[in-house]
Amino acid sequence: MAFTTEQISIMDSIIARYPRKRSAIMPLLHYVQSIDGYVTNEGIELIGQKLELATAEVTAVSTFYTQYKSKPVGEYHVGICTNTLCAVMGGDLIFDAVKEHLGIENDGVTSDGKVSVEHIECNAACDYAPVVMVNWEFYDNQTVQSVKDLVDGARAGNPPAPTRGPKTLRSWKQNSAVLAGISDGLANEGVQAGEPTLLGLKKAKGGA
């Protein structure tokens, strides 16, 4: 997809954040994903041009990081934590059940393009295990059933809200723009913290 003048000027503003422009490569890759859904050749070439890098150098960076996708993912990209703790506590079961439920393998996308599934590593929410991320939003304390409901809702265009996140789940592309540092104005939505986060404070204050 060709990039619009407006998109290119946003890229320029991303570059302007940094003392040296090469530093902008990661947000620019997130930004390309927010437009194309994944890291397209057009995106690589444009970033190369903008940052005065060889396309090989851009590829070297984009393939290093797992969040940059070389092919399209679903509108709702579901990451299921199968690192030790989540896996043991149910993540493995959830992962197997969801793949079977959707009829896709790891890194697969449903034929309607709505949902893709990936097993992910520890997502820094172990006190909410088992953890599932959708478009990198937290879905805490999941069960096999809750995740089946989640993906069914997503395919129907009606996914449940994240546990700790905005009121409505945004699409993969929309969230990619947030990761590129482009505000969607939703920071104030959602809880400040979940129960486990507050447990120590509560105990300190003499709570049960």
């Binding site: 050749n41 290093f64 797992t66």
Partner: protein, 781 residues
Amino acid sequence: MSIQELSTEQAVEMITCVIDGFEVTVPKGTLVIRAAEKLGIQIPRFCDHPLLAPAGACRQCLVDIEINGRAFPKPQASCTIPVENGMVVKTQLTSPVADKAQKGIMELLLINHPLDCPVCDKGGECPLQNQAMSNGRGESRFEGVKRTFEKPVAISSQVLLDRERCVLCARCTRFSEQIAGDPFITLNERGALQQVGIYEDEPFDSYYSGNTVQICPVGALTGTSYRFRARPFDLVSTDSACEHCASGCAMRTDVRRGKTLRRLAGEDASVNEEWNCDKGRWAFKYEVAKNRITTPLIRDANGQLQEASWPEALAAAAAGLKDARAGVLVGGRATVEDAYGYSKFARVTLGTNNIDFRSRSHSDEELDFLSTVSTNATYKDIDNADHVVLINFEPEDESPIVFLRIYKQVHKRAIKVTSIASLASRGSEKLNANLVKTAPGNEVASINSVTDLTGKSVVLVGERASETQGALSAVAKLVKESGAKLGWVPRRAGERGAIAAGAMPNSLPGNRLISDAAARVDIATAWAVDSLPSATGLSTQEIINSDLQAVVIGGVDPMDISPDAKLKLSKKFIVSLEIRQSDITEIAAVVLPVAAVVEKSGSFVDWQGKVRKFEAAVEQSLNRSDVRIISMLADEIGKPINLPTVKSARVELESIGNWDGAKPEMKSTVSNSTKSVGPEEAILSSWRNLLDKGSLQDGEENLAGTARGSVIVISKSRASYLGVKENDLVRVSNNYGAVTLPCAIGDIEESTVWVPRNSLNSQLIRNLGVVSNSVVKVAKA
């Protein structure tokens, strides 16, 4: 070496440490792995390379280290740690911990490495194979699944990649980025899937890609042309010098049963370090081309060349030359010894100074410059330069190792580079050069505008400076006034040597001016002749235009000089000394076959003035060097030059030595008026791309596959005036002819158009009759 240099070298602090019980003293900053080498202790390694920044990636060189009694808690990579006073190092030879660490790493390196050594090009000369034998475990404990990849991947038309063999040492990627400035190959992916790769639409088209094949410590990178062609132990290696340009690369030529199978960069710290360019590495098939001439030829009454015996051919040549008003065209690729033979032959046998090595654009001003201005710059001066000025010189295309040396300092010290050129070439962009955008013909003003040069600055001027009147005079003035070092960098390997040999119309061997009677006496004495011709001879173009009756011609392509050169020469009696059929053999009365570089010994003089001797790599060849033939011809004519061997020529030239008497100043030539152009016109600018239609690249398709695209470069405003966008066809024409190529919109001087001088569909003398500094029409095609 100047006194100043000596004193700075003495000022280097020396460090003494102990390795495996032996004391060694090395300059501060020396890495442990290299200090060990000084003691003859070989620590195994893969990623380490002395000319690349340390990576510490392969971990093969782990050793135990303590400093002043304090031991590092774990083994250290000896390729990343500089020695220190009080350091005690224990390598695998004395430390069981280091030994186990190294064996452990080797085992890990091999778990995913295929056991395909019997079919791998590297087998027999493979650092992994060798070090696995010397420093590895006898047997692997790995029983699992090896990593596999699709193979091979062509990362360019000349380099293939077998990823499963790769040990991820990053030598190739570091070379591309740090040495060549061409980061087209990178490490991609991550972890166990990390792999070398290119971006899918951008192949590894670097002029220097072959070096990655050479430094790959396994068989992961191989050259397409050599793949599966030979086993290293069947090859006979000979040190040689590169004949492709004046950079002066040391080379190694590997021959099997009389046939060159590959050429590698040789090592010479004062010249090419350990690198060469792809042309030097991969352009050698010309010597076995189908049109190679193997016997003497004489033109018969019907105008056909007929095979002849040597006595017949020499007699025929002598008959045509004897008593004729004659001249000699040496060509730019002769060895010093051959050029010396031609030089002596012209004076002694033909009795003339009508001799010129310049087989390209040239001027009298250039002749004056070359015979009076001393060029003293060296690679070392570039290493120490504060500022490098390039004048009508594109080092990446015209002397690629000079480019690498400048790039090294740009990469390391960000030195200032100024380029006086019509456009920002890829090379000058890589050098981050300050471009003094100059239309051809306007160089003098640009040269005069260069300021802040010091004694540490280096001015490098290319042979194309002769194409602008006054440019070389301005260069001489600039250097004289600033004290900067000067280098004149011709493209061809033989030009500096031809100057030393006196193969030019105004000079004799050893830089003796013909106009100087004392100099003439010098040479006459050395040659045991009564006198030498005293009139300045004719230049190449003058010889062609003259009414001389006969011309002896070495390796010359008339299409390098002027469009009508062949026709004009065809009216004369031509004796051609050639390795292959050519435009000259087509018109020659007598053709005498000579040896190609790999078949003979000799020497070139690089742009620094450094002699690059080489021996014959193909010893069995019956072909002989030009000097041997020309000496026989002199005998036949009856005015011998007594140079029966290359060695005799070398010894005689060395004994003559260089002129140490006074020399006149260079005459100042003023620049002529600049051209004005209309909106549909432009001033033609051009140079030869490194990889192009050059005759020594004939038959090298894999190499040609990496040549830069043949494009016409125009400015943005011209593009909009013409209504063309990138890659649209543009036509450059004059009364003589036209060139039509896709255009590239570049940072080029507004009134100028750039066209490749000798590339695909763009051979300017053939197509336009001119190469530069001439008004042409530019239109949308």
